[in-house]
């Protein structure tokens, strides 16, 4: 009886602990590709500790929304991360929300972040929020179309069921899956403010989206937001791993050893994804903001195409 709760709690702790490591790894890979030594992969933890110990400098006209938003954003992202089968499918609470709900939770976090960006009343907060919602207005429907196509293939929007289906030999190779994967990668890049959509490393005013929204945050608030951003990257990669590369997932009841192997495989997947992401980010340039809609519109069309294919192929 206690076992499933332990797995759920273990997952929540694992994602929280692994998220900064993933961010650190991506930064390290990017530095190595640039032939720099780069900071240690543990640097994000140190950053968080430093931020937590600092005082907050709060703008005069910051409202309660500005002060509560970081905690809520973190909580929403964490709940989303807790619902994804990272190393085991049979999470005890995985039925509380399906993939649509997970995406909506991330959407709620973004909604709050955009509002917090506008709270101080600076032009940077406004520019970040306005661009963020523009990007989201295309990324979210693209994501939903991917979910629709997956749900049509697997007959479920429940991530554990989708993962189980993908593990079964029924899944096979499908055109729709390939289109969805491609669209998913584009959406994941946009959702996490990565190159080519946004650059997480700069504070160059004219290019930034995410960084502009959180410009006024400091101290423990900023720590919460940074942690939430790391978690979101992990959520996206875990979702992709769970759907498209579900091998190694622990299904059903298993012993502790099996779970340890599952965790190991999961961490390996994260490491591979982080390395690929770092190399990819270094291989292309950032896009102009108004070219981003073309990219995301392409992802939306890919998702729609995948769904349409499935709709018209039924009964053929």
């Amino acid at each position: 009886m206690i076992g499933p709760f332990l797995v759920q709690a273990g997952q929540m702790a694992l994602v929280l602990l692994a998220a900064p490591l993933l961010t650190g790894l991506v930064r390290k890979v990017k530095a190595r590709v640039q032939r720099r030594r780069g900071a240690s992969v543990l640097q994000p933890y140190r950053d968080l500790r430093r931020l937590l110990s600092k005082e907050i400098v709060l703008a005069h006209n910051a409202s309660w929304l500005f002060r509560t938003a970081p905690y809520l954003i973190f909580a929403l992202t964490w709940v989303a991360a807790a619902l994804i089968p990272t190393f085991a499918t049979g999470l005890i609470f995985s039925w509380t929300g399906d993939l649509i709900a997970i995406i909506a939770l991330l959407g709620a976090a973004r909604f709050l972040l955009a509002l917090a960006g506008m709270d101080i009343g600076t032009s940077f907060g406004g520019i970040g929020a306005s661009r963020e919602v523009m990007i989201a207005s295309l990324a979210e429907p693209a994501m939903l179309m991917i979910i629709l196509s997956l749900a049509l293939i697997a007959g479920s929007t429940q991530l554990s069921t989708i993962a189980a289906f993908m593990l079964s030999p029924e899944a096979g190779l499908r055109v729709s899956l390939a289109l969805s994967l491609l669209a998913f990668v584009v959406v994941a890049l946009a959702e996490n403010a990565r190159i080519p959509v946004d650059n997480p490393a700069t504070h160059l005013e004219l290019t930034m989206v995410h960084e502009a929204m959180v410009l006024e945050y400091s101290g423990r608030h900023l720590a919460m937001i940074e942690l939430a951003a790391s978690l979101k990257l992990l959520v996206m990669i875990s979702t992709m791993a769970c759907i498209f590369f579900p091998f190694g997932l622990v299904t059903g009841d298993a012993g502790a050893g099996r779970y340890l192997i599952g965790i190991g495989v999961y961490l390996l997947k994260l490491a591979i994804a982080g390395t690929v992401l770092g190399c990819f980010e270094m291989s292309i340039a950032k896009m102009r903001v108004f070219r981003v809609p073309n990219l995301l519109g392409g992802a939306l069309m890919l998702g729609l195409l995948a769904t349409l294919l499935l709709f018209v192929s039924v009964g053929l």
Binding site: T96, G97, G107, G121, S130, A223, P293, G315
Partner: protein
């Protein structure tokens, strides 16, 4: 039960007459008249909501009153569909009435609002109870005319009289098309009671024109594109509690009319009718929210957003029609339940948002977002309630808007083996449009909330705002709580809707209440499930853990200072993002095609001291294509026919004679 339910709207009508009479008396009583009228309206609306809830599962009951046409009387019927919509209307009406006890005090012309308000409510309720075409149309017109009187309550503003004019035209159009629809439904027998229409089973040939007329009539009242033109003009023009009623309730009565005609009276429709409804619903949802994004008048933004939500409801109804046409009753039940759930949700959060806009209007005298800002500091409770409404309408979990959109997605995902290619393409396309509309809605409400309530005040009025009275605040908080509760316990709402779908489709969704942890499982546990209660609990506990951990281990120090803004903060509040600039990226992405929008930047040459200017142009294509030509044609025809008014008596007699000859000839040829 029906007698008691019917008594309430009749009493409301009597209150309206009493209100009119009271204003004939001396002025000093007016202070007491207002709470009495709104209080009595609130009580009667609440009573209707309770009665409707109680009679949801009961068998239909009918009654014939000796009103209206002398030899038949007026028939009324209370069945599950009526009961559900009566519940929604009663809830919205009660909220608006309580809100108005406080809000109405600021009314400059109460004698133009108070008499019509109860009559408007009575019209809303009577339409839902009517059981024959005459009673239905009479009450429909009563509702339209009473609300028209409320729209032009502040008739000195030319924008309002224009809104009233357009509204009156569209209302006449909708009444006229519904009259034709009922005429076709009654068929050759001429039985215009709904029972006779149900029994008549019109042929498949009739289905198309009836559907078209119902779409025109009910759709124009509900705000279906391209018949929405009156809605963003009229809804904001009325006093805010009336705007809430018009947006939250009256559009739902129009949805009721559509459901009553298509699902109840007409019987099963051919599959391609569903494609029309799906296409219109999808287009309405996306275009409605895009129009809303371009607005900077808070109430007009909300009105355009009503158009979007009507689109979402019609997507659900279209899916239900598609599934029903293919004999897939369980899917139809799911889609219809999703649509009706959204009806309930939208009535709640749109009322809440209009109450909030009314509070802003009371506190600042401004509806234009460009003159607001920073209200979160001065209107703490209103801003909180408005935030809940914004999150709910943006379909964010764990609030109620998410559940109905989630259910609609589940209906889209059902993918039964529909044999028709039209539906195979229309359904996923609608899925994409629904997703787009949902994402844009979130953008729209970040803008509405961010520009109005956050940031720094842009005018003195916004800087000196104060929160509103207790009645208004209480109503807003109650509606915000309903948003949360309906999101946490969606199973209760779904089960409430079961009698409706049983009555209309002979099928219902599985019982939800009683599942562990109040989960909702629309089809099967392996397919999809959602638990708003636990999601809320998880978010609350995770936030709690985060706050506790931070306050236990991290630094507590807080220093207040000026905004950082990359080191160059500008003290002037006009450097903030405005409503227009916030929407600019989306206008550039979507507006180029939808609004033909473009921008020109006039940059003076170096040395020239004039300021640089940016000018934006955009067109309302729907107005230009659908309405302007009709208006021009009518004007041209009137101009041409004007000459006929200045003829001699001989000529008029000649015309009469010629007309007679022509008619006789036509008759002779006919035979």
């Amino acid at each position: 039960m029906i007698i008691l339910t019917l008594l309430c709207p009749l009493l409301l009508g009597a209150i309206g007459i009493a209100a009119a009479a009271s204003f004939a008396g001396e002025a000093c009583r007016r202070e007491r008249v207002l709470p009495a009228i709104y209080g009595a309206s609130a009580l009667l609306c609440a009573l209707i909501a309770v009665l409707a809830l109680a009679s949801l599962g009961a068998a239909p009951s009918t009654i014939t009153l000796p009103l209206g046409l002398p030899w038949v009387g007026a028939r009324f019927r209370l069945d599950a569909l009526s009961a559900f919509f009566l519940f929604v209307a009663g809830l919205g009406g009660a909220g608006a009435s309580v809100y108005a006890i406080g809000y109405g005090r600021h009314e400059t012309a109460p004698h133009r609002v108070l008499p019509f308000y109860p009559v408007f409510l009575a019209g809303l309720f009577l339409v839902l109870l009517a059981d024959d075409a005459f009673t239905f149309l009479f009450d429909w017109e009563l509702m339209s005319l009473a609300s028209w009187a409320l729209v032009i309550a502040h008739h000195r503003d030319p924008a309002n009289t224009y809104a009233g004019y357009v509204y009156l035209l569209m209302a006449a159009f909708s009444g006229f098309t519904l009259l034709l629809a009922f005429g076709l439904l009654s068929g050759g027998t001429g039985g215009y009671s709904f029972d006779a229409m149900r029994a008549a089973h019109p042929s498949a040939v009739l289905a198309a024109p009836v559907l078209l007329l119902a779409l025109l009539g009910a759709g124009s009242k509900a705000g279906l594109m391209p018949l929405h033109a009156w809605l963003p003009l009229a809804h904001p023009a009325a006093p805010s509690h009336v705007s809430a009623l018009m947006s939250g309730v009256m559009t739902k009565v129009a949805v009721y009319a559509f459901i009553r005609i298509i699902f109840d009276l007409l019987g099963t429709t051919p599959w391609w009718t569903a494609v029309i409804v799906l296409a219109l619903g999808g287009a309405t949802a996306v275009l409605g929210v895009l129009y809303a994004l371009m607005q900077h008048d808070l109430k007009r933004l909300l009105a355009y957003h009503t158009v979007e939500n009507i689109g979402i409801i019609f997507i659900g109804l279209g899916l239900a029609m598609a599934f029903r046409a293919n004999g897939f009753a369980a899917g139809a039940a799911l889609a219809l339940t999703a649509a009706l759930f959204h009806v309930f949700n939208h009535a709640v959060f749109k009322s809440l948002l209009f109450f909030g806009a009314g509070a802003v209007l009371t506190a600042t005298g401004e509806r234009d977002m460009e003159h607001l800002g920073g209200l979160i500091h001065r209107m703490r409770i209103s801003s909180f309630a408005f935030l809940v409404g914004c999150a709910a309408i943006s379909a964010l979990p764990p609030l109620n808007g998410f559940v109905s959109e989630w259910l609609t997605f589940q209906a889209i995902l059902l993918r039964p083996d529909l044999p028709q290619w039209g539906l195979k393409i229309a359904i996923p396309a609608d899925g994409a449009l629904l997703a787009l509309a949902a994402a844009l809605a979130a953008a729209c409400f970040v803008k509405a909330y961010g520009v109005t309530f956050l940031g720094r005040p842009r005018t003195a009025a916004a800087a000196n705002a104060q929160d509103v009275d207790r009645f208004s605040l209480g109503t807003m908080l109650v509606f915000a709580a309903i948003c949360l509760l309906a999101g946490m316990f969606p199973g209760a709402v779904i089960d409430m809707l079961a009698p409706v779908s049983t009555a209309l489709l002979q099928a219902r969704m599985p019982t939800q209440l009683g599942l562990p942890w109040e989960t909702i499982i629309p089809i099967a546990a392996s397919r999809s499930s959602y638990n708003g209660l636990l999601i809320f609990a998880f978010i609350a506990s995770s936030t709690g853990i985060a706050v506790w951990a931070i306050h236990r281990f991290a630094s507590h120090a807080v220093r207040r200072g000026p905004a950082w803004d990359c080191g160059f903060p500008d003290p002037s509040p006009i450097t903030q993002y405005s409503a227009d600039s916030f929407a600019q990226p989306i206008r550039r992405v979507f507006g180029a095609s939808v609004f033909r929008s473009r921008e020109t930047i006039l940059m003076p040459p170096p040395g020239d001291l004039r300021p640089a200017r940016i000018e934006k142009f955009s067109r309302d294509l729907i107005w230009d294509v659908c309405y302007a030509p009709v208006g021009t044609a009518v004007a041209t025809a009137a101009q041409a026919l004007n000459r006929l008014q200045f003829l001699t008596i001989r000529r008029y007699l000649a015309f009469v004679f010629l007309a007679l000859i022509a008619l006789l000839l036509a008759l002779a040829l006919w035979q």
